[in-house]
Symmetry: D2
Subunit: 363 residues, 4 copies
Amino acid sequence: MGDARGRNGAGDGKVLNIAVAGLGRMGKRHAFVLLNRVLRANVVAVCSTAKHETEWARKNPDFTDFNVSVYDSYEEMLNHPGLQAVWISTSTDVHADQTIKAVKKGLHVLCEKPLSTNLDEVTAAIEAAKSRPDLKVMAGFSRRFDASYRDAFQKVKSESIGEPFLVRSNTCDLLDDTGFFVQYAKRNGGIFVDCTIHDIDLALWFLGNPTPKSAYAVGTLKHHPELAESQDVDNGVGIVEFHGGKIAYFYASRTQSHGHDVCTEVTGTHGKVMVNVIPKANNVVLADKSGMRHEVQPEYWQRFEEAFVTEATEFVDSVLHDKPVPLPLESGYAVMKIGRALQESLITGRLVRFDEQGNRINE
Amino acid sequence: MGDARGRNGAGDGKVLNIAVAGLGRMGKRHAFVLLNRVLRANVVAVCSTAKHETEWARKNPDFTDFNVSVYDSYEEMLNHPGLQAVWISTSTDVHADQTIKAVKKGLHVLCEKPLSTNLDEVTAAIEAAKSRPDLKVMAGFSRRFDASYRDAFQKVKSESIGEPFLVRSNTCDLLDDTGFFVQYAKRNGGIFVDCTIHDIDLALWFLGNPTPKSAYAVGTLKHHPELAESQDVDNGVGIVEFHGGKIAYFYASRTQSHGHDVCTEVTGTHGKVMVNVIPKANNVVLADKSGMRHEVQPEYWQRFEEAFVTEATEFVDSVLHDKPVPLPLESGYAVMKIGRALQESLITGRLVRFDEQGNRINE
Amino acid sequence: MGDARGRNGAGDGKVLNIAVAGLGRMGKRHAFVLLNRVLRANVVAVCSTAKHETEWARKNPDFTDFNVSVYDSYEEMLNHPGLQAVWISTSTDVHADQTIKAVKKGLHVLCEKPLSTNLDEVTAAIEAAKSRPDLKVMAGFSRRFDASYRDAFQKVKSESIGEPFLVRSNTCDLLDDTGFFVQYAKRNGGIFVDCTIHDIDLALWFLGNPTPKSAYAVGTLKHHPELAESQDVDNGVGIVEFHGGKIAYFYASRTQSHGHDVCTEVTGTHGKVMVNVIPKANNVVLADKSGMRHEVQPEYWQRFEEAFVTEATEFVDSVLHDKPVPLPLESGYAVMKIGRALQESLITGRLVRFDEQGNRINE
Amino acid sequence: MGDARGRNGAGDGKVLNIAVAGLGRMGKRHAFVLLNRVLRANVVAVCSTAKHETEWARKNPDFTDFNVSVYDSYEEMLNHPGLQAVWISTSTDVHADQTIKAVKKGLHVLCEKPLSTNLDEVTAAIEAAKSRPDLKVMAGFSRRFDASYRDAFQKVKSESIGEPFLVRSNTCDLLDDTGFFVQYAKRNGGIFVDCTIHDIDLALWFLGNPTPKSAYAVGTLKHHPELAESQDVDNGVGIVEFHGGKIAYFYASRTQSHGHDVCTEVTGTHGKVMVNVIPKANNVVLADKSGMRHEVQPEYWQRFEEAFVTEATEFVDSVLHDKPVPLPLESGYAVMKIGRALQESLITGRLVRFDEQGNRINE
């Protein structure tokens, strides 16, 4: 018995039996990445609570031909015979709970960012993971797996720019006029929690995990008035000062006309390293009456697909060969603390301060 | 009697008899710009209180051959026969006073930025200028005369980017290890007053002169510990929020390794216009074992020389043809108010707020 | 019986059982592309006549875990049970022969460029393929599968540049000081046959398969004096004029210091489309004392890996769904004719001319 | 008595009294460059045989205010009192004759490229210049005075790219639909003589004045059918091989849609230097729905204005300080010989060959 390539029903140390939770835009992508791009990942199951998603999955030849079971319930899926690992790509509000449930079942977990917008839930999930040191439980911050960011990091590490002390980082999305974004925005925790979280993670990585001293943010609403209900904005700028003379500043936008524009600059005492400051969809330039132009990726998927593949490959590898996960779950805590501080500053119009241990100072 | 080209001692409506005050780095450059590049500017005098500068000037063949008188005193120079206009390029602390003196003598004036770091002096000079509407009294913000900024402004004006609402603007200087900068830094009012003032001016220009709502800044000291004495930094980041949902944010640095890196991005509801995001010294790229590289201008002069020529040409033209000056003196007031607010925020660690009329709110 | 994922020994219409001939640098890569990146390719066998290559393959866990048989003989491999298709990635001199043998066995074939440097062999292989219209027999010109070239082609097709009439195209390799290249160069047919063949293929594609009128080439030897034995050069420039007022010109080099630099420009009556004119290894720029620089891919693999994946995916798809192959074998004939004409011109120092049917004119 | 700035009627060793011959598009520009940009050039006269040009000049305030005499005849102008030098910017067919006349009058001369399209006339003018070694007689090849080309040359000279052996160089003009170009094209000698001559000059400069071995060219007519009368084309590609293993290849076009696109690449044994491979009008990039785009200079004047200023400044300086001219007249001979060989090859469809002394081989 087997799928089109006759996969066995259970892992044998050569491949990892893995399931994907969530079949939204990203869940589908992760399922296909695991199926198509990760040799040693054996996708045995997927699940969703959305009927149109499971119906779609049950008809998809890539799932049916390769023996991928489709579940309506996450909990049921966790009982799939021989299952070894879960990739959680559901909506943020259930990330922490699902992570804890999988850990309790003795499954390895990769949970997409953010673990939760609630710091207590983040802590609970981290505690659960710590209670099972035999399991690999990993946070999914895709940019850390991008070849350009890794090259930049190596350059910083090898002191090409001296001591790094300043990060500028942007997450700017193409304007979405379809309503899809606004629909999804309700549960995402706000622009600094949903978008800037990647930039904060990068800043902490490049600056050597400094402790925050203060966070300040402003924003404006230009295209999505519905966001006002949740006190959110569609364009925001924030500054985070760290103890020890380091600074990061961020721009997040939902309203770019030209595409997905995500860039980072790390300035050091003797140089600067820039990632994607001029975004390009491909290597093509068109010269005509309007000058010379190139196109820009419409979405983060076009920019970061390879990073997701690397992330998946390294997660599978960490399980199969019992290596440390490249990004432990707890790394998400500091990031979320800062993201929430920026969002709070945006709403209150006040500076949020932290002491030298990184604890909130209440004023 | 005359110089090498036999210039007459006085203007005749075809050329403007002009003097340059200050023979420091910029004063010399302005004198040569007027002499070499502005057909209808007749440089009749220069002055400096620094002996080595006047000695140098008295031996310089471009001055001696073209009959340029050299004075040790600004006040004496103002009495030069036939003098019609003064270009003030001395140190900031005497700008306002010299402007007022020239106006009182009935001379047209171009005063380099900033008019003063003291808002009362700024006001006094503006009042003096207003008292003589027959005279042309102009503020020198060179970037407004740069061809690229002007092209960008036309693009914004013609609605290429929809409604502009966000400006990012940097003034980043090459690291100066010679001590020249630190020497000069003592009287410049701080990094946000000295550097960012250009970016603030651009932000006000591109955003349609919005009223500030708040200013916040942080900074760090990486190369010039001497600046600590004046509570200044060598790298600073600031955000200015304006009433009406507009935002500007700035980065200023004294410590770049690669050159003079000055860029501006204006984001609107339907596009973005970028000026000099990848700075280049010229059109040359070298490909070798280390990849492909280009050089960057070392200094603002290489980047903005043509802008200074345009500025000079338009000032001379405004006098000879009695046109409005392209940049009236009062435009410097709002810029300086914001620059000083950022500098104050940097020092106090607090947000500086303004009401809807742009008046400081004391908290 | 099965591999780590339990693949069956034979195809079932859902996957294609495929073997890879040749385990040199490219053979290995193609085997891994098929194994890792093409869901519906079931790699069942590989072969090589080089002992160190088969020894390596027999120990490689990706082959042993996934049940890939390793053969010492191409002919034996063709008898592998259930085999449906062969990917030929051996040295050029056996391409045609192996293609013919596989076709005679009733196997689908993808043969890497060039089919042969001998036009009679090219013809024989094409005839063999024509005799079995039930089989998919495809030429491997990887650039046609590259996303940027395809985007450029769509732009040309949609008349973004008017009527295309001029192609400039380069194939420039990183200088190889290891001796590997020189070793391999002996059997490759010369620089215009080995390198420029890609550019000729692109020119024919973008210009709508025009008929050649003349070919002329010159060259020089700068780093590999050994090439003189075979009358070859390490840098060459050639022009091909086509009937109907179209022109292509080419530069091929084995001696670039900065990396693999492959670019193409297509000029039309109303615009120009450029592919990879500034090659970049990734999105990273480093700014330091020497200016701003980026790195360049060292090899064509880094530039074209995704193209090889697309090529493999489309070949497998054409077999499984009985679609026409994206690039039929005969397309290689016109390309080779022009490549050889350039090489001949290089050697003789004379122009090679063709009549309006594309037949050689002997002078 | 004098002009607006009271210039004397004659030079005094501090300024050079100079006249400009020709008031066409370029003549006007050179007159203004000398007037506005060269401190020590005293423009005393201009001339043209075109009535509308002299009428325009007699009303132009920059001429009348600064005492510039306007002549209808070149020969009369040569008698202007105190005249020391002539800048010849007339049509090519009178360049050589006017140069000889000026030299005979004892005047210094800068003659715009090309000296003549007739090699005998070139020789005659060079002989005339040699007969008066006391006079400065200079060829005008503007690109040699461009800051980027000079920087590139310094990089080559300092061995940044090893030994240079290959030059690619383009002269591509914006499509001119006004008829102006076609009008002017009749007397210009053909595309390789009129356009590529600059690229040939650069190739000789960068490659160290090698001796030509062969020249070959092809071309096509896409927009200007009128050129067929003179056997000319509007797009042409040529290769020049030099003795000693050096190569240059060229593309010239009259029909670019995006602007004036002039670039040069010099490849050496250890690197490559590129000038203006991506042409840009300024530092502005616009990001909108169509991607990111920049504009391109429409004309060579926008690209090379500063080079013309440098050329003028250095010519004036060479006279005033009795220095060698930066580009002696004879440098134009080798350039024209190659340009004419390419044009001949274009027309005959044959290779033009030269022996090791650079003499034509007749076949």
